[in-house]
Symmetry: C2
Subunit: 462 residues, 2 copies
Amino acid sequence: MYNNLYNNLVVIGGNTSGLAAASQARRINPDLNITVLESGKYISYGSCSLPYFISGYVKKVDDLFTYPKDFFEQKRNIKILTGHRVVGIDTSKKELLVNVSQDRENRIIEYDKLIISSGGTTIIPDIPGIDSLNVFQFRNVEDAENLKNFIDSNNPKKAVVIGGGAIGMLLVEAFNKIGIKTTVVERKERIYNEFEYEISTILSRKAEMDGVDILTKTSITSVNTDSGQNTVTIEDAGGKKDLECDLVLLATGVSANTGFLADTSIELGINGTIKVDNKLQSSHMNIYASGDCATIKNIVTGKQDHIPTANNAVKTGRIAGENAAGGNKVFNGSVRTVVDKVLDLEIASTGIGSKEAVSLGYDAIKLIDGFSSHAGSVPGAKKIAIIIIVDTASRKLLGAQMIGGEGVGKRIDVFATAITGEMTVDDIYMLDLSYAPAISTVWDPVNKICGKAVLALDSKNV
Amino acid sequence: MYNNLYNNLVVIGGNTSGLAAASQARRINPDLNITVLESGKYISYGSCSLPYFISGYVKKVDDLFTYPKDFFEQKRNIKILTGHRVVGIDTSKKELLVNVSQDRENRIIEYDKLIISSGGTTIIPDIPGIDSLNVFQFRNVEDAENLKNFIDSNNPKKAVVIGGGAIGMLLVEAFNKIGIKTTVVERKERIYNEFEYEISTILSRKAEMDGVDILTKTSITSVNTDSGQNTVTIEDAGGKKDLECDLVLLATGVSANTGFLADTSIELGINGTIKVDNKLQSSHMNIYASGDCATIKNIVTGKQDHIPTANNAVKTGRIAGENAAGGNKVFNGSVRTVVDKVLDLEIASTGIGSKEAVSLGYDAIKLIDGFSSHAGSVPGAKKIAIIIIVDTASRKLLGAQMIGGEGVGKRIDVFATAITGEMTVDDIYMLDLSYAPAISTVWDPVNKICGKAVLALDSKNV
């Protein structure tokens, strides 16, 4: 037992959300004993930058770290215990069962208040050969180091990436940069499947132009390393076939890392996330949860959702930390804003898509158009495509998606702000957005697409 | 007289706002006779791109035009008359007195509805020598051509730019690029004087690093070309002195181009702008006004203002055109969003500054901080500085200003949207903004500066 004081706050997870929680708890309450338990070797790294370590754009693993352990221990008086994996919780005794990497037996660590920020975990398909040495996950620094070491030692020429979401495609980009020929195997209809068809198709074509093979409606049935020749067996409507590959990367989606709660009465929700209220409190009064392992209220749908973004991780962490330390802050939720820069394209989304709008019962219209990222008189303008989804009844914006060569990331934020502010397309059409020839067009694309929606709605109502 | 039909819409001004008005009137009403009177030779050009024509970044004057005359005449059935300068209005007879460049006598042109989109005009200081051949204004294509021809023929080495606002500094950038050594003479305390001190100081230092001389609290008292040696006489607290210069550029501010209304009963407001209501209607029922020559409601102050931006020009033009053609649209106003890209810095503003907040009676706080434009793990991040002005009582954002190497233009739009939506800093702090390492930091700078405001307000209220 590390200590026995009453004000014992333990945080499970030493990355973005857990450290945001611990730091905010310290700001609120200087007297608390705060301990962070991290299962891995490293804390405080930028998960989203890991693909750049593979491509060599980020040179050293050290460049991935935001703050060193010392910073938290010395400046913030937060005890950091790496190599401490929580394997069970006794919520009545307020005890954690912790597997410590250098110990033979598990330890017991007590808590008064607990914040679970244990993050996400890659969903591993249950197929033969999935534990082969050339199969990699990609969630944390250790994963990235393993993959980098394998690449440096084995000089692989062909990779199969399982899953065409953001993590998969960012690795595709990294592999492309270092000369590894890549095939993407995607079970669903298309890559970036949560995006509208037109947006993900633009990305798909760019990937193919860059020499990436994309196989959709295709699943992987086994990884084969026995015969000396490494292959994976894939299956689509036409049947099975084998693909040669030196390396398999699993980007098969993320579920909450909450397996260690299986024997507890802590309520779980979507994707194994811990159910929390708007104060980030779980079904147990003294247990909070934040980040990728917690439910998040989707502001547009009003429902509990799983939105594992860094932005949500840091915000919910901060609020969970504040409340666990005696505060009383509310987290209003997320509009599910995401952006990636992949294969020289920025691709971004906020709010809900057209399918989700239909399933929620909205009579929604979908508008799409292409725009120039800045004025044609100034060289270097890039094309951007925008889709918006609008509720016919209220004329409010429900969602927006965008892809293009520049000016996408922070434009999606205007839509995110407008959705949060419950603005109509009439409002957004008339927003006073910035213009200079090198920055935008006189009517910003954000204004223009909403002007198109206004026209469509007006003609619909005639 | 051009025609005598009842439905005679005449638009004064053939640039952004006038053409937006004429085009929207045509969309609304296919039967209207629409005539646009433009005093100059050219229509439909990007005023904001003119400095790039001087620097050579835009090669040909043709690249500055958005649409040709034929487009309006043939596709939109709008008659375009260039070289037609309106010199007087008889509002009771509904007649315009028009000076036509190729005619000896003025013509009368009748209207049923009139839209005045006559734009702005450079404020010319009343000093000896101001009409010298080496003194230039810079409002339209003719001005830009004159300046370019002078530069090409005379190879000037030294320029004095009178006025350190946006137009002045964009010309400074252009002169710098083509090797003309420039001195800026600014009457007020600093360049970009409408910005907060800290922001304009960053720009000022960059300009000085780039070899530009900046003289503030200095006015020009005469332009001297008699002695063979061209000079300007300037005056500051220390007295008068002469500056050698081959070229003088007047960037002395813009007033509404409404001198031709002097003998009418059309009501004028700030800076000579035509007073309009929220339907862009002037004090005369059948006369509308839009763009740089019209008042605009400032959404933050609630007052009539003069906000001569391209964005406002095109929006008010469209609404004036719609209403003059029988529509009934409302323009809610502007939050005064501006952005410029000058000397490799983006500088932007929205809402009101700290001085204006004080003068309006707000108990406001001002927050300033520096941020990285994107994650440090990805090379190429630039510094950005942000200032926000917040009303202590309501916690609402009143204004934001920003300067930096990238990611400023569209970030100011998030603030502009938030101000329009009357969001508090608490709301903005928690906005779900996009993050990817190449695009932003996990907490976007927009979130962060508002988080700082939340802390400051909370501690103030303790």
